[in-house]
């Protein structure tokens, strides 16, 4: 037997692109490709304003996608975000409604707007805490726990709104945040917040210990423990982080429409999951990026808005989404397998 230990001369020089960057680049290319393809089919699709709209119209789901992405990378699901959007919006409205309304649906806590919103955010984070408690301490699979808390959150919202919505007797400044436009343009505050969140998330993911811990825990939970990582604490932070984002999204939506609606954010948890998967995040954990998720959202947005542009009935949207998801995921799996062959 020969002893051969290759000491490569160029050991450090040729740093190749990582699988993560490869997939992200692929997702970006697919997003551009899909956009160009849609521009061929749909009249007036290829316009700057339309590109802007693809991003701005989807600020809510992209924001939720950030929390969901971090949790997926750590090996956990969060299906509760849609429910939290409804709950925090309803809570904010309820707390802010004046106490002397004509009926039960028009009277609330009578708190100043900022306090009402703060308490609503606390309510949202309580759901996040509940997720962490069941997943981290009681070791129940996250898909089950968050499916449950999704219904808990929406259920509370429904009870508070008697199954419909609260939109009367609100202070005037309640509608401020959600409709504020910035820099003299038509771009609204929530969109700017979403973009900042994505930037912060990219920084967190690539440059901080917080981000690296997320990958370690998702990549190998046993090795993480044996390497001295407190994964319970980190996963708790992630659930609180995700719930806080969903809470803010819910409050901003409630402010935009000046109403707390128990059906708001319906199916948004699935959209957030879908854009994360479209963006190349591995469902097994330990792999993926926020940028990928962002462009996953663009792919989904192009498909749905192109469908509207083609005057397809909205009934077709689900089928189109399904086709986009299957195509994108198959492409990724194929490309990664080919690359690593």
């Amino acid at each position: 037997m020969s002893i051969s230990v290759k000491k490569d001369k160029s050991t450090q020089e040729d740093i190749k692109m990582s699988n993560e960057n490869f997939i992200t680049l692929l997702v970006v290319c697919v997003a551009i490709g899909v956009f160009l393809f849609a521009s061929l089919l749909v009249p007036n699709f290829f316009q700057f304003q339309n590109m802007v709209n693809l991003v701005t119209n989807n600020w809510a789901v992209i924001s939720l996608g950030v929390g969901v992405t971090f949790l997926l990378v750590s090996g956990n699901f969060d299906l509760s975000v849609g429910g939290i959007v409804a709950l925090s919006g309803v809570l904010a409205v309820w707390f802010a409604q004046s106490i002397d309304g004509a009926n039960a649906l028009s009277s609330g806590g009578g708190l100043p707007t900022y306090l009402a919103m703060l308490f609503a955010l606390a309510g949202a984070m309580a759901i996040g805490g509940l997720n962490a408690l069941f997943v981290v301490r009681l070791k129940i699979p996250s898909i089950i726990v968050t499916l449950g808390t999704m219904m808990v959150a929406r259920g509370i919202a429904q009870v508070i709104t008697h199954g419909s919505q609260r939109n009367t007797n609100l202070p005037d400044d309640f509608g401020l945040l959600g409709n504020l436009t910035l820099f003299g343009t038509t771009i609204k505050l929530p969109v700017v917040l979403m973009l900042s969140l994505v930037l912060v998330a990219v920084f967190l993911e690539r440059k901080t210990v917080f981000g690296r811990l997320t990958y370690w825990i998702g990549s190998n939970p046993v090795a993480s423990k044996l390497s001295g990582i407190d994964s319970s604490r980190h996963q708790t932070y992630l659930y609180l982080f995700s719930a806080a984002i969903a809470g803010v999204v819910g409050i901003l939506l409630a402010s935009e429409f000046k109403s707390g609606f128990s059906n708001r954010g319906m199916l948004m948890e699935f959209d957030a999951l879908v854009i994360a998967l479209l963006g190349g995040i591995a469902i097994a954990g330990g792999f993926g990026s926020v940028i990928g998720m962002f462009f996953g959202a663009i792919i989904l947005a192009v498909v749905t808005s192109a469908a509207t542009g083609l005057v397809l009935s909205p009934d077709w949207q689900f089928i189109l989404k399904a086709i986009a998801v299957f195509l994108a995921i198959t492409t990724q799996t194929w490309a990664l397998a080919r690359r690593n062959r």
Binding site: T11, S18, V209, G218, S219, N220, A223, L226
Partner: protein, 482 residues
């Protein structure tokens, strides 16, 4: 290289035939050939006069050879009877129909072990009873040869006795048993004949009655193996850094030892002797009673605390316990000492890259880049990455559990060099291994383990008596006392 080379021997029908040999002697390879997992490149096998050339385990079973694996293949949620007929049910358009199979199985079970109730849930059975279940399944499917690979590794003494009764009943039912064990006492107690392997070669096949004693058997097993000469290190050992007294848990039994600064100690024993449990206890990953003092303080109750106090562990299973396979070499290395590559929670990429490059060079990790995903590295290089992780923690005590398992010879030597240079710098190193050659090659002091107890401590040197060591780790001390 051949794992098994030109082996010929015969096994009498209806006998209990034992296979013995050190790790890597070729026993497992032979079993794999018999059961169709591997195909021999040359030679023939004959079972009861019929040529036996299985291409799969399925075909081996049809040829009458069944195997009792170390991992049990029973379904806890089902009853004994349901387990025994699992996969053999007769059905009619998806509906199960009653067959006389049940009756046959119940009869077989009654012969082999009447104390097991066929309607009991399998989750209520002990490990030995579950093994008996598997034996029954093999016997009722008409197997004429049953191979048992270390069946007693996870059993208590009483359960071993129960299993032996069953094996003897099988023999009286004219079933041939091929029994593989490191525990030599079992072989003397149970076997009719024994075949000894060494380095892939067949050494001897003899009736047990022709073997005078354990020493005789051990001599055949180890032969005149030349071990890599241990070179006593020219270093003055420091103070005692770790003291363990009366460690006990479900595996360990009143284990006490100490480790000095700058010393390389070895824990040597067979599979199941308690090596991993000692390592995990020191590292805070397993529960125990007794006390472990590290630098005068009780060690922590979690790996996190152990690492903070200056202890690092290279775990037994690198892929499942040590490595982050979806991440790159650079991203793997800092995990046990993140503070060193970060400032206020922000990663210092330059420090990280420098560290990765340093270890790639120092340990000779063969890779095109530090940005390579560790899942694409070979076993030896993966092990070096796990080692680099531990070195980066800059611990005062490094525990290595089977550090060279599945690693090629070149990488082995390099890993040993790293261990020696660590110790020369004053770090204490503890090696937990099933390979005697490894332990005697590098350790200053060796603790011999058997069945969860620390049997003996030996100082490594020229006059080490290998036959004596083998005797101790195969349970010879208790044997002599009986």
């Amino acid at each position: 290289m051949r794992a098994v080379d030109n082996v010929s021997f015969e096994i009498e029908s209806g006998a209990i035939h034992c296979l013995v040999g050190e790790n890597g002697a070729g026993k497992s390879t032979l079993v794999k050939m018999l059961t169709g997992v591997l195909q021999p490149t040359s030679g023939t096998m004959t079972v009861r006069g019929i040529s036996h050339t299985p291409k799969s385990t399925q075909q081996a079973r049809e040829g009458g050879i069944a195997t009792l694996f170390q991992e049990l293949h029973v379904v806890d949620e089902l009853t004994v009877l349901e387990n025994l007929t699992l996969g053999l049910e007769k059905s009619w358009f998806g509906f199960q129909v009653k067959s006389d199979l049940d009756e046959l199985v119940v009869k077989t079970l009654a012969v082999i072990e009447p104390s097991i109730d066929p309607s009991a849930r399998v989750s209520t059975l002990s490990v030995a009873q579950k093994q008996i279940l598997e034996i029954t399944r093999a016997a009722s499917s008409g197997a004429s040869v049953i191979i048992m690979d270390e069946p007693t590794a996870a059993l208590s003494e009483r359960e071993v006795a129960r299993l032996f009764t069953v094996i003897r009943r099988l023999k009286s039912a004219d079933v041939t048993v091929i029994y593989i064990s490191h525990k030599l006492d079992e072989i003397f107690e149970l076997g009719d004949a024994v075949t000894v392997f060494r380095d892939g070669k067949h050494i001897a096949t003899k009736p047990i009655s022709q073997i005078s004693d354990r020493a005789n058997l051990i001599e055949m097993m180890i032969g005149r193996t030349v071990f890599q000469q241990y070179v006593p290190r020219q270093i003055a050992l420091g103070e005692v850094i770790l003291t363990a007294s009366s460690l006990s848990n479900s595996i360990l039994n009143d284990v006490s030892f100490d480790i000095k600064a700058g010393e390389i100690v070895g824990f040597y024993g067979l599979v199941g002797a308690g090596k991993t449990e000692i390592a995990r206890s020191i590292f805070g990953a397993d529960k125990y009673t007794g006390s472990i003092q590290f630098k005068g303080k009780e060690v922590g109750t979690s790996p996190k605390k152990a690492i903070e106090s200056g202890i690092a562990l290279v775990p037994e299973e690198r892929r499942t316990q040590g490595l982050f396979t979806s991440l790159t070499i650079r991203e793997n290395i800092p995990v046990m000492n993140v503070g060193k590559v970060s400032q206020n929670g922000v990663l210092q990429e330059a420090v990280e890259i420098e560290a990765a490059q340093k270890y790639v060079k120092q340990l000779g990790i063969a890779t095109s880049s530090i940005e390579k995903h560790t899942e694409k590295l070979s076993g030896g290089n993966q092990q070096k990455v796990v080692l680099a992780k531990c070195l980066f923690a800059e611990s005062e005590l490094v525990l290595l559990d089977e550090p060279t398992r599945g690693v090629d010879v070149g990488a082995k030597t390099e890993i040993y060099d790293v261990m020696r240079s660590l110790a020369d710098k004053g770090t204490s190193v503890a090696v937990f291994s099933t390979e005697l050659e490894e332990v005697l090659g590098i350790c200053d002091r060796v603790f011999l383990l058997y069945g969860g107890s620390l049997e003996e401590e030996i100082q490594n040197g020229k006059d080490v008596d290998i036959a004596h060591i083998m005797n101790v780790v195969t349970g010879g001390v208790e044997h002599a006392a009986q």
